[in-house]
Structures are given as structure tokens and as C-alpha cells.
């Protein structure tokens, strides 16, 4: 029975994702972004099938197992775009570091103003980087990786929903700049969004996500002093 439910969960996820991509390609809107659409659909179907998150977990573990090699695979866009990134290293790194600093300082300030507890602050510290790295960092420092994953995902989903139109309005049109911002602030989901804009934007975002992950990994011991 478990095997059946696991197969069902995985198939459901794949089909929801494929349909989500098709719908987004036809009717691009914040509410049809593939992850947002698939998540809502899957949750509703799980509930309608009388299944809960526990039942879905074995299937979830199989799918997320591939986040490891997927993170390693980010070396490829990094490698392919190494020349343009090295050439524009100064703007790229400045944008990444300033963007990460601003997002973290604002997140912490608001969290402290609302006196949110420390385990939430720990999750917020890794919210902009890709899930596999965020989860690993939180576990390395004894935090709750489920919370981190939730914040990372919310940031990614919100990012893909808000950022494209916002950057258009602010006249940020340079694909290199958009790619860096997508990858730095909204990690994998941002990268997926960037790839929809153009292959180049996606590649830059992939590289930025990789570098942002490395930056936060290296600076986390320092950041954790403030938690």
C-alpha cells in the first residue's frame, strides 16, 4: 500500500508540474507560476484523496533526493558563464553582497520588531539561498530545517510572483542584472523564472544562486553571531 501511495504521490507531482508549466506558458500570471499552481493543486488532490502529509513524505523524499545532484549541476551554468561573470565580477559581486545584506537586515529588523523567536530568525538567515544548501546550513548549526525550507520556498514563490513586474516598472531591463537578482534573492525558483525570460538570464541566475549559496555558507558563522 505504501509503495502504491508513494508512486501515486510522485506521479501526481510530475503531472501537476507538467500541467503547471503548460498553463504558465499560455497564461503567465503570478498565480499560475508552476510551483504555486502545482502546490495548491497537489494539496487539494491529496486532501480529496484522504491523504495527509505523512503519506506524501516517502514520495517527497525520493524527489528531493535529487536536489543534491541538482545543486552539483549548478556548476555547469557557473562554468559556461565564467567569462562574463569574471568580466563583470565587480558589479555582479557588489549586487549579490548588497542585495543579500539588505534583504537580511530588513528581514531581521522586522522580525525583531515583531519579537519573533530565535528559531524563526535562524530560518530567515538562509531564506534567500537554495533549499538544499539552506537545509544543510541549518542542520549544521542545529536549527529546524523544515522552517528554513518553508521560508526559502515562500521567498522563492513570492519572488517569482512579485519580481518580474516590479523590475519592469523600475526599468531594470538589463538581462545580466535581472539574472543576478533572481538567483541571489529568489534562488532556484527565481532561476526557473529567469530561464523563462531568456536562456542567458537563466544561466546568470543559476550562477548567482550558486555563488549566493557559497557566500551564505561561508558567512553563516558570522551571521549566526547576531542570532
Amino acid at each position: 500500500m505504501t509503495a502504491l501511495i508513494t508512486t501515486y504521490s510522485i506521479l501526481l507531482t510530475i503531472i501537476a508540474y507538467i500541467i503547471g508549466r503548460k498553463i504558465y506558458a499560455k497564461y503567465p500570471s503570478p498565480f499560475t507560476t508552476p510551483v504555486f499552481f502545482s502546490t495548491i493543486t497537489i494539496i487539494l488532490i491529496l486532501l480529496a484523496s484522504g491523504l495527509n502529509f505523512e503519506d506524501y513524505t516517502p514520495g517527497k523524499n525520493i524527489i528531493t533526493y535529487f536536489l543534491g545532484p541538482a545543486t552539483v549541476a549548478l556548476a555547469v551554468p557557473l562554468y559556461k558563464n565564467r567569462k562574463i561573470i569574471v568580466k563583470h565580477a565587480l558589479p555582479a559581486i557588489s549586487g549579490m553582497i548588497l542585495g543579500l545584506m539588505v534583504t537580511l537586515i530588513i528581514a531581521f529588523t522586522i522580525a525583531l520588531a515583531f519579537s519573533l523567536p530565535p528559531f524563526i530568525l535562524q530560518g530567515l538567515a538562509v531564506k534567500s539561498i537554495t533549499v538544499p544548501i539552506a537545509v544543510e546550513i541549518t542542520e549544521l548549526y542545529g536549527g529546524d530545517s523544515n522552517i528554513s525550507a518553508a521560508f526559502v520556498i515562500l521567498t522563492g514563490v513570492l519572488g517569482t510572483m512579485i519580481a518580474p513586474k516590479m523590475m519592469d516598472k523600475l526599468n531594470i531591463t538589463l538581462p545580466f542584472a535581472r539574472g543576478i537578482a533572481y538567483g541571489t534573492i529568489a534562488h532556484g525558483l527565481g532561476t526557473a523564472q529567469a530561464a523563462q525570460e531568456s536562456e542567458f538570464t537563466g544561466a546568470v541566475a543559476g550562477a548567482a544562486m550558486a555563488i549566493a549559496g557559497i557566500l551564505i555558507s561561508c558567512f553563516f558563522p558570522f551571521i549566526s553571531h547576531f542570532l
Binding site: 541538482a70 534583504t103 537580511l104 522586522i110 524563526i120 520556498i153 542567458f200
Partner: protein, 130 residues
């Protein structure tokens, strides 16, 4: 069929590099996650020409293109976190939302202002066929 075989082989190679990353992080006591070490290892292998991009392009291209898919199950886990949002909803929503908006603006705006527009645009079109 040949493509499927190549894909599987490449995926296994990526898995091995990932495991190697975890192993290195463990024995060297690095404060960096194993999968990030794996990514750095792969980058070095590509840069030193030990591995050719073509040897892993199929699987890595697929994984990167569909990265969002692998996040969906984690997003589903939000269905168990209602309590978090009931208890801390407003603060959390503001913290995540406002920090996201300003992070995006500062990051993108800095890159755009500091880059020489024409230069990157030229580069851009040259890289479109990646």
C-alpha cells in the same frame, strides 16, 4: 535509448560527485554543505578539463531546467505549518515580503548601474546560443 543511457550515466556521475562533496566536507571538517563542495569540485573538474561539459550536459541541463520541480514536495510541507503562520503571521509576512522586495531592487539596481550597458548587451547576444 542511447540518450536515456547517457542521461542515466551522467546522473550517476553527478550523484558520485555529490557524495564526494559530502565526504570531503566530512573529513576536512568544512563548515560548508557537502552539495556546495560537490558543486565546487565539479567546477574545478570542468575548469581543469578533467571533465568535458558535453559529458554531463544532458543530465545537468535537465536538472537545472527543472530545478523548480524538485522544490514542489518541500512546498507541500507548508500544509503542516499552518500553526506558524497563525501564531506569527503578520510579522513573518512583512519580514519575508518587504525584505524580498528591497533585496531584489538593491541587487538588480546595483548590477545595472555598475555594468557598462552596451558592453554587457553585446556579450549577451553572443551568449544567447549557450
Amino acid at each position: 535509448m542511447k540518450k536515456l543511457l547517457a542521461f542515466t550515466g551522467q546522473l550517476i556521475l553527478l550523484l558520485i560527485i555529490c557524495k564526494l562533496g559530502y565526504y570531503l566536507a566530512d573529513i576536512l571538517h568544512l563548515p560548508i554543505p557537502g552539495n556546495v563542495i560537490g558543486m565546487i569540485v565539479l567546477f574545478i573538474l570542468l575548469q581543469t578539463k578533467v571533465l568535458k561539459v558535453e559529458w554531463i550536459e544532458l543530465a545537468s541541463g535537465f536538472l537545472v531546467k527543472h530545478l523548480a520541480f524538485f522544490f514542489i514536495p518541500i512546498t507541500i510541507s507548508l500544509m503542516t505549518m499552518g500553526w506558524l503562520f497563525i501564531e506569527f503571521g503578520l510579522g513573518l509576512a512583512l519580514s519575508l515580503g518587504v525584505s524580498l522586495i528591497f533585496g531584489f531592487i538593491v541587487s538588480a539596481w546595483t548590477v545595472q548601474k555598475l555594468s557598462h550597458r552596451g558592453e554587457v548587451k553585446q556579450h549577451d547576444s553572443a551568449h544567447h546560443n549557450l
